[in-house]
């Protein structure tokens, strides 16, 4: 093979459009979040927390049935509810409620055209408030405050 001939290049992988550098809250996450808009992440978060909360709703309604069976049945379940591991799971429920609720308010505002340009700030604020309230609720649940 002479220096002037070139072997045809084999087709490489499909050329993807150049990815924009991440900005704002997604910067540094990489992996799954890379290339995805913050709005999409927020939308998916709301869907996932919503479905989890629907699952909890039916679990909750099922447990409340024990109240119809008398004080003994309810007392046995209360003992389980006061377990620290159970409280930890309950605190996750509170987190899902906070995230779904506050992000839902953001979605309602942005969906009606209010503050569309600032939707990232809305999301960051909603998540920050959720985190703050979550800490307060956890401290209250475990009797610290």
């Amino acid at each position: 093979m002479s220096a002037t001939t070139r072997t045809p290049r084999t087709p490489g992988p499909a050329q993807h459009p150049p990815q924009r550098p991440l900005r704002g809250p997604l910067r540094g996450t990489g992996g799954w979040a890379r290339g995805r808009h913050l709005g999409s992440v927020a939308f998916l978060t709301n869907r996932v927390t919503g479905l989890l909360l629907i699952g909890y709703l039916y679990l909750h309604l099922g447990v409340l049935y024990l109240l119809t069976e008398g004080a003994g049945s309810w007392a046995s379940v209360l003992h389980l509810f006061k377990n620290h591991w159970f409280l930890a799971l309950e605190s996750l429920l509170i987190l899902f409620i906070l995230v779904h609720g506050l992000n839902g308010l953001r979605l309602a505002l942005v969906g009606t055209g209010v503050g569309v340009r600032h939707h990232r700030v809305w999301f960051t604020t909603a998540m920050s408030v959720s985190a703050g309230l979550y800490v307060v609720v956890v401290l209250a649940m475990f009797g610290v405050i």
């Binding site: 919503g50 479905l51 629907i54 004080a71 006061k82 509170i94 609720g101 309602a108």
Partner: protein, 130 residues
């Protein structure tokens, strides 16, 4: 951020014209109501009683109050309404045709009605023990 309409996927012909604006508005209204009602529910159930959990007698006594009964009933209705609308929205986004969409709507309506019926029965059964 302004959406480029050329890149936004347009709804399929079976979905066009049935954008679900009414459902979205109802979802927003029920969501805002839930922020208040769920907040009241959680605070009154878990942050008023010492220890955060009501025993059997406290639950029966609490539900015997007609104001509480009315608020909890309203909470149940709005919660189930919001949940079923959300479930319907998630299912519809899988891109079913017109018949599938109708079945989904009937299905979540039936599920919501059954859930509400069970919830009201539960509230009545517990309140009756008071």
């Amino acid at each position: 951020m302004v959406a480029d309409l050329k890149e936004v996927r347009q709804p399929s012909p079976s979905q066009r014209g049935r954008g679900g604006t009414t459902a979205w508005i109802l979802q927003v209204v029920s969501g805002v109501l839930l922020v208040v009602l769920l907040g009241v529910h959680i605070v009154t159930q878990h942050f008023v009683v010492k220890g955060g959990l009501r025993d059997y007698a406290q639950v029966v006594s609490y539900l015997s109050n007609p104001v509480v009964l009315a608020v909890e009933s309203l909470f149940v209705v709005v919660l189930i309404w919001h949940a079923m609308l959300g479930l319907r929205a998630v299912l519809l986004d899988f891109g079913f045709g017109r018949r599938g969409q109708a079945r989904i709507t009937y299905g979540v309506t039936l599920l919501g009605a059954l859930t509400a019926a069970y919830s009201f029965w539960l509230i009545a059964a517990i309140a009756a023990k008071g």
